[in-house]
Assembly symmetry: C2
Homo-oligomer: 214 residues x 2
């Protein structure tokens, strides 16, 4: 029995550190930093409170570790966009749908990041921008610019603004679902992300003005 084989029977699933991180991510995402007690994390993770403090120096350290963990897992979203084939419209539509689906499938992480964004702490927001969103957003903008160079997209629109609008629409869908459900004019969309993406891309592509008739 070599010493490296000794730890083959985890108490519940994964080692304690992972279970603590998973519990913390879930609870922080659901309720926010202040509403979550170390007691609650310990209970959900199936360890003692003191054990958490053995692995993480403070509640804040645990929160940051859970955040980094979630962000790291959330990064490779964009990887399929650049490889996608088809017209520019099709590729953008594909991205819009994939991005929204990603937000909804990883609801926990999305909420965690969203909470962090609205907290508005300058340093934390800078870290988020540079370490989490930066690359993906830049790649989305680059795709817009390449579309412009190829003439598939108006040359005089602001590429950053187009990307922003797309992300904004999806974030809004994600975070306002529960409210939209009770607004008569958009009820039909709040449960149908695919339909939402279709309408979004349609407007984004063609605008809302009537076609010229002269």
């Amino acid at each position: 029995m070599s010493k490296s084989l000794a730890k083959a029977s985890p108490p519940t699933s994964g080692d304690a550190t992972e279970r603590i991180l998973a519990a913390a991510e879930k609870l922080f995402a659901e309720s926010g930093f202040d509403a979550v007690s170390m007691n609650a994390v310990a209970e959900l993770a199936g360890v003692s409170k003191a054990n958490i403090f053995h692995h993480f120096s403070s509640k804040n350290a645990l929160y940051l570790a859970a955040m980094r963990n979630a962000c790291r897992r959330s990064t490779p979203l964009m990887d399929n966009l650049e490889g996608t084939s088809g017209t520019f419209v099709e590729r953008l539509h594909h991205f819009a749908r994939a991005h929204l689906a990603h937000l909804l499938e990883n609801e926990q992480t999305s909420r965690l990041i969203q909470r962090e964004v609205i907290e508005n702490d300058p340093q934390r927001c800078q870290e988020l921008a540079e370490q989490v969103f930066g690359d993906n957003f830049a790649r989305l903008v680059a795709i817009m610019r390449s579309g412009q160079q190829r003439g598939e997209l108006r040359a005089d629109v602001d590429a950053g603004m187009v990307a922003t609008l797309l992300i904004a629409a999806n974030m809004f869908f994600f975070q306002s679902r529960e409210v939209s459900r009770h607004l008569p004019d958009v009820t039909h969309l709040s449960d149908d992300p695919a339909a939402y993406s279709k309408l979004l891309v349609d407007i984004l592509m063609h605008g809302i003005l009537p076609p010229k008739q002269s």
Copy 2:
């Protein structure tokens, strides 16, 4: 000296109940429900903690009262939109600018509502939708529809989706300013809401596809 004139010397400004509500709104907006202690509210309002419990039965009751107060104050935003003259494009541009300015000027209320939205409590979200957003959103959609009937706007776009997109873009600007500041491709916008609105309306109106060349 009639009895109705007796209370003409407020301790700081407004009566205690108002000062408590103002303090609560500010602190809840800044930090969220759980991060705010009744002690902090009492200190900012210049009253004793016990006095707050005399006016409000619990911390939660205080929070709800502050929310309702803030929402009530935030309602009459839309009132100038319908009266505005000019082309449909001009009116929509005017609304986009006014709405974003409103969010930024009433940052406290905007944040308070935003926190409530992401909390996602079904009942609270329904109340928000029906009592706060409902009317204004419906009026915005109605304006879109009337624009469609007059031929100033494509008849086959979803009016609710256009309205959603407009609100989404503005909400996103408001809540992501601090992050956008560190995204290279949109830095130029995060401090210039007017420029943001202009780009937004341009894209919304004309779309991003190049004009037909045949």
